[in-house]
């Protein structure tokens, strides 16, 4: 139902409901932070945020990776195992023989570009192709690192362990990443073409742009951000594990949607996606731990948070449609 029909073509007057909708991701993040603050005062500190947002950077990068494919109406169900694969390469080859590691990671991005071309040329469902690829990445990760271990390269540890003054590293990194992607995708002319390929591919094609190239670029960007996410993850956890990224597929989709992205139509928001990822990262465990939610029910609470935010968005969207 929510798919297919282009509901919002053309300019609409800005109204309050629309503004609310744009602010919803930030609002949900705010609510989570306030909830944490009211439960544990000490968590709201430089150290507290550094610890709570420990894994936020890899999650944010994986979410952006997912956002790129969602922009062109595709879905990557292999991003989690891919992050795990990158993690294993990082903890082994990139540490022991950097040149080999770099080559493998670049080749992995090349695989993503090739997948984009394959999906476009053969008109394949991305869900199934990436589902198949998730086996491949998982298998490769197990082949490279059969048991958890390995070591993160020194420079990566130094980078991820960097402590900027006043503002914790994860927040600085999140702002930088969000701004870079925002300007690239939302403010450049080719970014508009890329989003247009999701909004109305036919029109973009008629206008003389290569749709094949947009798919390849977007899948390539997904690969690139998947690699960055894997690097950031290993820089934080210091060692690798073939299963380390498995939760990221779901987290990344949830982050994009929480951040105001739509599944079809090229309607995405990089800043929103990063905020959505931060919300998921904080709500996922710190908040629930402070609320003394038993471990059994923490997964359920994640699902509930997702449902509540989406319900709020529907209410606002309905108002937006009526206004």
């Amino acid at each position: 139902m929510s798919l297919g029909s282009a509901q919002a073509v053309g300019a609409r007057p800005i109204n309050w409901a629309r503004l609310m909708r744009a602010l919803l991701p930030a609002l949900s993040l705010g609510i989570v932070v306030v909830a944490i603050a009211s439960l544990n005062q000490r968590a709201i500190s430089y150290l507290g945020f550094t610890l709570m947002l420990n894994l936020a950077i890899p999650i944010a990068l994986a979410t952006l990776a997912q956002m790129f494919v969602i922009t062109i109406n595709e879905l990557d169900l292999s991003i989690g195992p891919f992050v795990g694969f990158v993690g294993c390469v990082t903890a082994t080859w990139l540490h022991d023989s950097p040149l080999l590691g770099i080559t493998v990671l670049i080749a992995a991005i090349g695989v993503y570009v090739a997948l984009g071309a394959l999906i476009h040329l053969r008109n394949l469902p991305s869900i199934v192709v990436t589902l198949g690829m998730s086996f491949v990445w998982q298998g490769l990760a197990i082949l490279i690192l059969p048991t958890p271990g390995g070591k993160a390269p020194e420079w990566l540890l130094a980078l991820m362990g960097f402590k900027p003054p006043f503002i914790p590293m994860p927040i600085v990194a999140a702002i930088v990443i969000a701004l870079v992607v925002h300007f690239g995708l939302m403010r450049t002319s080719y970014g508009a073409v890329l989003r247009g390929a999701g909004g109305n591919g036919q029109a973009i094609g008629r206008a003389g742009w290569s749709l094949l190239r947009t798919k390849m670029v977007m899948f390539g960007l997904t690969g690139l951000f998947g690699v960055l996410s894997g690097l950031a993850l290993i820089g934080t956890t210091t060692s690798g594990d073939a299963n380390i990224g498995n939760g990221y597929t779901l987290l990344s989709i949830a982050g994009v949607i929480l951040g105001g992205g739509e599944f079809v139509g090229g309607r995405v928001s990089p800043v929103g996606a990063v905020i959505g990822a931060l919300t998921m990262a904080m709500a996922a465990s710190p908040l629930l731990t402070f609320m003394h939610v038993p471990p059994d029910w923490q997964v359920a609470a994640n699902g509930a948070i997702l449902i509540i935010v989406l319900a709020a968005r529907v209410l606002i969207s309905r108002k937006e449609a009526n206004a």
Binding site: R122, S126, G132, L143, I253
Partner: protein, 312 residues
């Protein structure tokens, strides 16, 4: 021959045959019967969930049920708890598992309808909640299935599991529903063009409701059957069906764009996947390489059989 080759499901059966021949060539015919029996036993479960998933996917782009693994896990626990190792309670236990699955399906639909959440996210979020319920409900659950029930799920007639007969009958039923019944035709119509279907008077929301409920119920049944076959319930008993339920639908020739379903293809694809794993196991391939090959073969098969129009 030409009409046969143009059927989308033929490729999945050919694939299954090739993989099977490669396996018995490797074993030089030793244990051929055993391989077939084991493949049929395992394929049955994939066929049942795959059929449910097929109805959902046929509704059109974006429709997919990601809550099946959690649903299967919960239903397996419900079935084992209700049966409580007692042969007299088998029917009640099966009904309870069916009810559990049905409830999941209805909840999924309500999320999709009332909150207007895309089905992917709705079933994803509900699967988190179901998973928690299962973890909490099934904690330390070590109830064995009733002996009569465990026997039933494992029993064979001339090497063919009795469940395979039942499931073939079920597939025939599903094919009839799809091609002859108003409900099945409505599912196809919605998948082809939801607006046209609505204008033509198809009760779109009722059909969608029934489809998600059906898929949930089939997941519930599968959970109960798996618990019997593997002699016990567990939280992750359904994990592999997230990928395989979607994979068999697509490999079997059902269009991911919706509106075009294929029941026989699900059998071919399920046998293909199961035999593929068997083949890689007999070849003595390491777990990592097995995953890589499975993935590459799935992508390869889809690329070869694909080329469908108007996908996501």
């Amino acid at each position: 021959m030409k009409t046969l080759l143009s059927k989308p499901w033929i490729w999945s059966f050919l694939g299954a045959l090739v993989v099977f021949l490669a396996t018995i060539a490797f074993t030089r015919g030793v244990g051929t019967g055993g391989i077939l029996t084991a493949a049929l036993s395992l394929a049955v479960f994939t066929v049942i969930v795959g059929t449910g998933q097929m109805f959902v996917i046929t509704l059109g782009p974006g429709n997919v049920d990601l809550s099946l693994p959690a649903n299967i896990g919960l239903a397996s626990a419900v079935a084992m708890k209700v049966m409580d190792g007692n042969d007299a309670m088998i029917a009640v236990g099966l009904l309870a598992a069916l009810g559990s699955g049905l409830a999941v399906g209805v909840a999924n639909y309500l999320l999709i309808r009332l909150l207007r959440i895309p089905p992917i996210i709705a079933t994803l979020s509900s699967s988190f909640i179901i998973l928690s319920i299962d973890i909490s409900y099934g904690r330390g659950l070590q109830i064995k299935p009733p002996p009569g029930y465990a026997d039933f799920t494992n029993i064979q007639i001339v090497g063919i599991p009795i469940l395979a007969f039942v499931t073939v009958a079920f597939s025939v039923g599903a094919a009839i529903v799809l091609s002859r019944l108003v409900y099945g035709r409505s599912v196809l119509a919605i998948g082809q063009n939801i607006r046209a279907a609505w204008l033509a008077g198809v009760p779109v929301e009722r059909v969608r409701f029934l489809t998600y409920a059906l898929c949930g119920a089939l997941g519930g049944i599968t959970g109960a059957l798996l618990a019997g076959y593997f002699r016990g319930a567990s939280v992750d008993i359904g994990n592999e069906y997230l990928l395989s339920s979607i994979a068999v639908v697509v490999i079997g020739g059902t269009s991911v764009a919706g509106g075009k379903a294929n029941v026989p293809g699900i059998w071919g694809a399920a046998l293909f996947l199961v035999l593929l794993l068997t083949m890689l196991n007999t070849f003595g391939v390491s777990p990592g390489l097995r995953l890589v090959l499975t993935g590459l073969i799935i992508v390869g098969v889809i690329t070869a059989a694909g080329g469908q129009k108007a996908l996501r």
